[in-house]
Amino acid sequence: MCRLNLVLATLLVMPLGASLDGQTTRPTESELVARIDSLSVILDRADSVAKIADAVRREERQRLLGGQIDTLQVGPFLVVTPVGQGSLARRYFERAWARYAAFVGTERTAIEGRVFLYGKSESLYGLDSRGSIRVTTRYLSRNRDRAIGRILGGVIAADLPEDLRTWVGDFYIRADETRELEWAYRSLTTTASAAVSDCYDGVLDRCWDAMGLDHQDEWATTWYSASERRLVVRRLNTSDIAGARASCLDAQRDDACMALLVDQDAAAGIPLPLGTRMTLLANALSLGGPAGYRRMAADTDASIKDRLVRISGVSADSLISSWRTEVFQGRPDGRSATRKLRWSSLLWLLVLAGVSTRSTRWRLT
């Protein structure tokens, strides 16, 4: 290692002495080109020295790591983790995989044979991670089930055609289906979009607009009303034609809003969020079974709407109606959020009542 450092230092010092001195006058073009040429040569040499040093360091580290890691088989993939964390890692990955296995069945997916390195980044440092996925716990959400489920979904999503992947984001199936449907219901009631409101009111065709799967060519006018377009402009990173943004938002000029939205891709303006779109895909997959997953991965020609229909194996109306019914069944209990509050209020009332009955005046009477 010392020899390598010595070689590198020599390489750096020799030609740079002339070229990298603090310059006080404007360099000429030819001087600069010459400086860059000489630096390129040095960089090539430095890179090759660095590659050797990196390889030596990697080998040393891997030798030290030997015997300190466990390798687990979970479903069709491997999990590599420090000794002592094996049972925990197995539990997380098995739980997450079970949710996907229900949809994927025995189909071959992009997760087949993948290696996940799970643990603290310090404990994984030095492992040869080429071709594997690092799942370091330092920046992983505390909700490990959700975080690992999302990672697995992201890997499986590699099988999906690109447009479907863009539409649905990570192929993420939540641990708690009830909660997923609650969120979908909330988005149906709170998303500011004419298409979403119509879908909520039972106009099934409009649910496809709300999902961003119909009328993409005229999305700004079909999916949103004028006042909703202003909200879209506020949210989107629109190109800044001078004054158009202020004119749209402050002067409420719809032509200015349209001018800003016209260049935007329809994907940027889809009313319902990714999680809600995923509930439609999950619904289609559950109707179609594992064969549905195969159709989803292979089918790339038709529009996403037609593909969802093919995946489910039922008609478009039946699919969207089934999804809507499921979401409405997942309607959250409006009082559940205040349950703790109610108990807490009651407890405090009892405490205060108890304290007040202990006052001197009460006891005297």
Partner: protein
């Protein structure tokens, strides 16, 4: 009763002490996170990365040097008026006329005096000037240069655009959109207001000529961030401080509109708004903090081409500016308040910036800056404080408690 009270007070006191000791650490928490972690690269890899960074900086300098040499030569040989519009041959006539019209409006608004100065506005492919081995180098922001060619003083504004890539048949030029985004006035409510700022710091060159030596050094040393015009649509230039700060002067991100307003003032800006005179001085004379250089391209480091004597500034807005970018009108506001003649005396002075300011405007630069900032943004509360309403409510509650307990005690005695 008295012993009950003492016991209660004692229990509350002990609980409070325990909670304080538990929640408030006796010494600062250790700094953790990846920034404090030692680098895992080998020294050889670090050395190679440093050489690569240096190489990119040299390429950035080469780009600017070629840019200023070619544009200044063309400007001086082709210019027929105070401002020369220089577009590549691929620009269509509509784009040319849009840019020329926008420039004409700004020149008309500025009413330049008879100074020996020509200004050029150009759009140049963002990959222009790269070394053959580093074709991926791209300029991201406008560059501003000034100098002299054949005895003619000039100031150059060069906007980047993405030209068609001959190696990629699907690539499209964005020249039209770049010009349109910069110059369109279709949606302006107030077309009588200040026009689009196409010239940046060069507008001061156009009106007042070349600055004095110290002023020019100051402009290059980050002072140019004070020499812009307001955004055309007034995008939240000076929202009152209460728009984005709570009652204690704390930053309130829930009120802050990312796109409609400027960001948060830096510590220096907050100090100035709170009346710290040194902070005001630093806010205009000191350099702004760069973002962490690891996360931005070397092509946007002015440090990489500051040795180019013609360079004045880049329109890079990603620095942490004391007043979060609102200082872009500092010089314009100064000129508006004191008049063109006194500003010209300051601009062309050979004294240091501070002496030139005091000589031209009769007060120190930091005093005027504090007034400027506080008038426009508001006064920032500094240090611990409680708002008036809370103080009043606490006093009322205390008086009520005292009143009730006194009345109760009096009744018992009877």
């Amino acid at each position: 009763m008295a012993s009950d009270m003492k016991r209660t007070v004692l229990i509350v006191g002990v609980c409070c002490t325990v909670l304080t000791l538990w929640l408030v650490p006796a010494e600062p928490l250790p700094l953790t996170g990846f920034r404090s972690a030692p680098s895992r690269s080998t020294p050889e890899r670090q050395a190679a990365n440093e050489i690569r960074a240096k190489l990119r900086e040299e390429n950035a300098l080469l780009q600017r040097l070629r840019l200023v040499d070619s544009l200044s030569a063309r400007l001086v040989s082709s210019s027929t008026g105070p401002v020369f519009v220089d577009l590549p041959p691929v620009a269509d006539p509509e784009e040319r006329s849009m840019l020329s019209e926008a420039v004409r409006r700004q020149v008309e608004y500025l009413r330049p005096g008879p100074v020996d100065m020509v200004v050029g506005v150009s759009y140049v492919d963002l990959r222009f000037g790269n070394h053959p081995d580093y074709q991926r180098g791209q300029r991201s922001w406008a560059d501003y240069f000034s100098g002299t060619v054949d005895g003619q003083s000039y100031c150059l504004v060069s906007y980047p655009f993405r030209g068609e890539d001959p190696t990629n048949p699907r690539s499209r030029s964005n020249l039209g959109n770049a010009i349109r985004d910069q110059t369109s006035t279709r949606f302006l409510e107030d077309t009588g207001g200040p026009p689009t700022d196409l010239l940046g710091p060069c507008s001061f060159y156009l009106v007042h000529g070349a600055p004095g030596v110290a002023i020019r050094r100051w402009l290059r040393n980050d002072g140019s961030r004070l020499a812009w015009s307001p955004w055309l649509d007034g995008r939240g230039m000076f929202p009152p401080i209460s728009d984005h700060r709570g009652p204690f002067g704390e930053w309130d991100r829930t009120r802050y509109d990312v796109r409609g307003s400027f960001g948060r003032e830096s510590m220096v800006g907050e100090g100035c708004l709170a009346g710290r005179i040194d902070a005001c001085r630093h806010a205009v004379l000191g350099r702004t903090a760069n973002m962490d250089p690891r996360y931005i391209s070397p092509l946007t480091h002015p440090e990489s081409y500051i040795e180019l004597e013609e360079w004045i500034s880049s329109g890079d807005s990603r620095r942490r500016q004391p007043f979060a970018g609102r200082e872009r009108t500092w010089m314009g506001d100064l000129e508006a308040e004191f008049g063109r003649d006194r500003f010209a005396r300051f601009w062309t002075s050979d004294q240091t910036v501070e002496d030139a300011f005091t000589a031209a405007f009769g007060e120190p630069i930091e005093v005027w800056t504090m007034r400027w900032a506080q008038d426009r943004i508001g006064i920032q509360k500094a240090g611990p404080s409680v708002d008036l309403l809370s103080v009043l409510l606490t006093l009322v509650a205390l008086l009520a408690c005292i009143g009730i307990s006194t009345a109760t005690a009096t009744r018992r005695r009877v």
